[in-house]
């Protein structure tokens, strides 16, 4: 519960009245939209994105209500909230108690489900090997996702169904990877695995080492997966087996498939108008795609949409007014469109 309050207060503090409560919700939940992507970078809270993936609107509303009842936040109108003085004290206090674990990066690994996918592959593979190597061919799989099941089958086939060798290699890699983590994290990870001797534990059951907070245990667990990406990518040679688990999982893939398609057409030299026609999309949708591309394409060209001077103007107004509210910026720069302002703001990171 406390970890939940901490995350809520952190995000509310980052946003600092510049977005609606809906915007905060989308950040916590990791909504796949251009606006949320841009906000994540604009408000420098990208590592928090998607940290409460399972959050329902109802839980969120109730959560806010509790914070309000405690006097830690107050509503400014019905759609924006502000952190109060005692709320700020509480946030600081909680921030001493809770921290994002080392290596945790929501935007990179939670947003598009990379960490979740890696875990599905790992846990199902470990489970399958542990059962098969004991001659047990019938068991209840920890993952029902057909895709994951197919993936594991492929992996086995690729290794000529030599389960013993596979298990040994995987063990070696996991052992080496976990040894670099704190002992507590090694325990957390292995406790989540399911084998014939033991069913995986829930985060509630593993929360003791994490201030009795299941959510905090969960975040640490996800962080292990995030670190796995980093360690394995940075040293493929040391993790011959684990690196196979990362095949086909992109961290920085475009958050939406649709934006990817737009990017493809633009690269063919089509104009925005043409893309709009061809894809039957609204102008604003294409603009959203461009924002995504600006955030993720390393060599995205601003030129067709903005001059260098425009970008400088927007950034200086934003910093002078200490705001990220588009309306306030536009009041100062009426000659620019909202889209241009948003695009310019992607430069602010």
């Amino acid at each position: 519960m406390n970890c939940f309050n901490w995350l809520m207060l952190q995000l509310i503090n980052y946003i600092n009245e510049q977005r609606t409560i809906g915007g905060i919700y989308h950040l916590l939940k990791g909504k796949r939209s251009a606006q949320t992507i841009q906000d994540a970078y604009l408000f420098k809270c990208s590592e928090y994105v998607g940290s409460l993936k399972a959050l329902t609107r109802q839980d969120y509303t109730e959560g806010l209500k509790k914070l309000e009842d405690m006097g830690w936040i107050c509503f400014q109108g019905s759609e924006t909230i502000k952190i109060t003085e005692s709320g700020e004290r509480k946030r600081r206090e909680l921030s001493r108690q809770f921290q994002l674990p080392e290596g945790y990066d929501g935007a990179k690994y939670e947003w598009n489900g990379s960490a979740g996918l890696l875990w599905e592959r790992l846990s199902l593979t470990v489970q399958s090997l542990s059962f098969l190597n004991r001659g047990q061919t019938s068991f209840l799989p920890v993952s029902y996702h057909q895709e994951t099941q197919m993936w594991v089958k492929q992996l086995f086939k690729y290794h000529s169904n030599n389960y013993r060798v596979l298990a040994e290699r995987l063990h070696l890699d996991l052992y080496n990877f976990l040894t670099d983590l704190p002992e507590r994290e090694g325990n957390l990870f292995v406790n989540r695995l399911t084998s014939p001797m033991r069913t995986g534990k829930t985060f509630k059951q593993l929360s003791e080492a994490y201030q009795n907070d299941p959510l905090y245990a969960r975040i640490h667990f996800q962080a292990i997966l995030h670190r796995c990406f980093v360690s394995v990518k940075g040293n493929q040679g040391s993790y011959p087996m684990l690196s196979q688990f990362l095949f086909g999982i992109n961290e920085h893939q475009f958050v939406t498939k649709s934006a990817k398609e737009t990017s493809r057409l633009l690269k063919q030299g089509r104009t925005i108008e043409e893309v709009k026609m061809l894809r039957g999309l609204k102008h604003s949708t294409i603009e959203d795609h461009l924002i995504e591309l600006a955030l993720y394409e390393p060599n995205f060209s601003y030129k067709p949409y903005l001059t260098y001077q425009h970008i400088k103007d927007v950034l200086s107004v934003a910093s002078k007014l200490k705001t990220k509210k588009l309306r306030l910026i536009k009041e100062q720069l009426p000659q620019l469109s909202y889209f241009q302002i948003r695009l310019a703001l992607t430069k602010q990171r």
């Binding site: 190597n133 013993r164 996991l174 990870f189 084998s195 069913t199 509630k204």
Partner: protein
């Protein structure tokens, strides 16, 4: 004529049929509609699993609870059946699509009534030859169908649309009234009815009234010293299940967890599997975990509230002793406990005023607006200020009484007459539910043999007497020896050792050498 017993041995590994099974299977194989009433744990699963393997075409099994579906699918798969699949509301859209695509005439499909009444599903399923239509836990039609799961009452429509395959309805708990209801609501044709006694001799029944909640808790822990584990502890609400698991932990029962319908799917599965694997031995649960679940060695079932009906009580205690060994069902209650089930009944039905308001708001609704659009439906639901469950119930009855078709509400039929009809219906259903509760209350208040009372409720006479029967026949917890559970310390050694155990148990030495080389 095929030799069924031989098949039983070769395909299922059982030496002989249990009472009732062979007759039921024979009737099903002769393609009659069949209603089978066999006690909990008697082996009803086999009554459809067996014919499913012999009959031409796909088998559909309608199942009410997620936990039950999981359990059954696992057991059938473990018995070597790879064609078993399930469809329920917790799957993603993609997964559902994939499963629907994969169906064929050898499939055994477990499905919730809500999914089965979905138009897309019906269309897909009706393209496949269907050999058998099974409704497991068929008493749910009566118990839940009329109110919060009205899709149960639409199963006969589905049955018709998929070409009226032979229908098998199974339950442990059907009074003659429920029996009638099942036959009617499923539109079964001249069904063969196989009825066996509901009695489970190996389950000993104890009921104890506590003075108040505090004493109830004390008594619970007193009893727990003697009641054998594994045990299921039933509470009336999710909150209580969570709190009770916490309290038990504090008292040193570390191998406990809670279970309820509000948990994530992942957590639910983990807890269920831990329990089935004897990794945890106490589970505090709402009624989301119960009906149909087959864990052979459950030794005790404890109720910390009064179940809403004798049916539900019998279903839940039926989790005990399925391996045939002696077990105990304890029901601990106080007078105050009646408030919760009564409130549940209250919530289920609209009051006269509410119903009136809904009607008058509806009348102001533009009658030409087609209802096909789900957003219009949502809007309407919002205007009426009505929760999902009751909204579905209302729509069901509007449809039933001809005031609603696929596209429109017929405003001219939303009149006083319909109001009276609905109101009368809800009133009598409410009475019925209250009555169900009074019956279990009076069973508890009575001085007569509890077993006898239960049997009477299902229209049976008790034959003979049992040695250790129930608390009204002289059985008390003091007759049980004290448990001697040495503190189950957590056996998790270190992650290094555990990981090795999981992946390379056969090769300790060699592997350790290899690891140290690597470092």
């Amino acid at each position: 004529m095929i030799n069924l017993t031989e098949l039983l041995k070769s395909k299922f590994g059982h030496d002989q049929f249990r009472p009732g099974q062979e007759e039921i299977i024979q009737s099903v194989l002769s393609k009659r509609d069949v209603l089978a009433i066999l006690p909990t744990g008697a082996g009803k699963t086999l009554c459809y699993h067996f014919p499913a393997k012999l009959m031409e075409g796909m088998t559909i099994v309608v199942s009410p609870l997620l936990s039950l579906m999981e359990d059954q699918v696992h057991q059938l798969r473990a018995a070597g059946d790879k064609n078993v699949v399930q469809l329920n509301g917790l799957l993603t859209f993609e997964e559902k699509k994939r499963i629907l695509r994969s169906l064929n005439k050898n499939s055994i499909l477990f499905i919730s009534p809500e999914m089965l009444t979905n138009d897309l599903v019906i269309r897909r399923v009706s393209g496949i030859q269907i050999g058998l239509f099974v409704v497991d836990e068929a008493h749910c039609i009566s118990q839940w169908g009329h109110e919060f799961r009205t899709d149960y009452l639409r199963l006969h429509e589905v049955k018709e649309r998929i070409g009226n395959p032979p229908c098998l309805a199974l339950t442990a708990t059907a009074t003659s009234q429920v029996e009638e209801d099942i036959i009617k609501k499923l539109a079964m044709e001249q069904p063969v009815i196989h009825r066996f006694s509901v009695n489970r001799k190996q389950i000993k029944l104890i009921t104890v009234e506590a003075f108040d909640k505090t004493e109830k808790l004390d008594l619970f822990f007193e009893h727990l010293k003697r009641l054998v584990k594994p045990a299921i502890i039933y509470t009336s609400t999710r909150k209580e299940a969570v709190a009770m698991a916490e309290t038990m932990k504090e008292k040193g029962y570390v191998d406990v967890a809670f279970y309820h319908g509000g948990m994530t799917k992942e957590d639910r599965l983990l807890i269920q599997h831990q329990f089935l694997n004897n990794e945890i031995n106490y589970i505090c649960s709402t009624n989301a975990f119960g009906m149909g679940i087959n864990k052979p060695n459950v030794r005790s079932v404890i109720h910390l509230h009064i179940p809403p009906s004798i049916e539900q009580y019998v279903q839940e205690i039926g989790r005990a002793g399925r391996d045939g060994q002696e077990s105990t069902a304890l029901l601990l209650y106080t007078k105050e406990d009646r408030a919760v089930p009564m409130a549940f009944i209250d919530q289920e039905f609209p009051t006269e005023r509410e119903l009136k308001t809904w009607f008058s708001v509806l009348k102001g609704w533009n009658p030409t607006t087609p209802l096909v659009d789900s957003s219009v439906m949502e809007e309407l639901q919002r205007v009426l200020f009505i929760d999902e469950t009751r909204w579905k119930m209302l729509l069901y009855y509007f449809r039933k009484f001809g005031a609603l078709d696929d596209k429109h509400i017929h405003m001219e039929r939303v009149n006083d007459q319909l109001f009276k009809k609905l109101y009368q219906h809800f009133l009598s259903r409410r009475k019925h539910k209250e009555n169900n509760f009074y019956q279990i209350e009076s069973l508890l208040n009575g001085k007569e043999c509890i077993r006898k009372g239960v049997l009477q409720y299902f229209g049976e006479e008790m034959t003979g007497t049992l040695k250790k029967c129930c608390s009204n026949c002289g059985l008390t917890i003091e007759n049980y020896p004290l448990n001697d559970y040495s503190q189950d310390e957590n056996t998790f050694a270190s992650w290094q050792e555990e990981l090795e155990n999981i992946l390379v148990p056969y090769n300790r030495r060699g592997l350790l050498n290899e690891t140290s080389r690597h470092n």
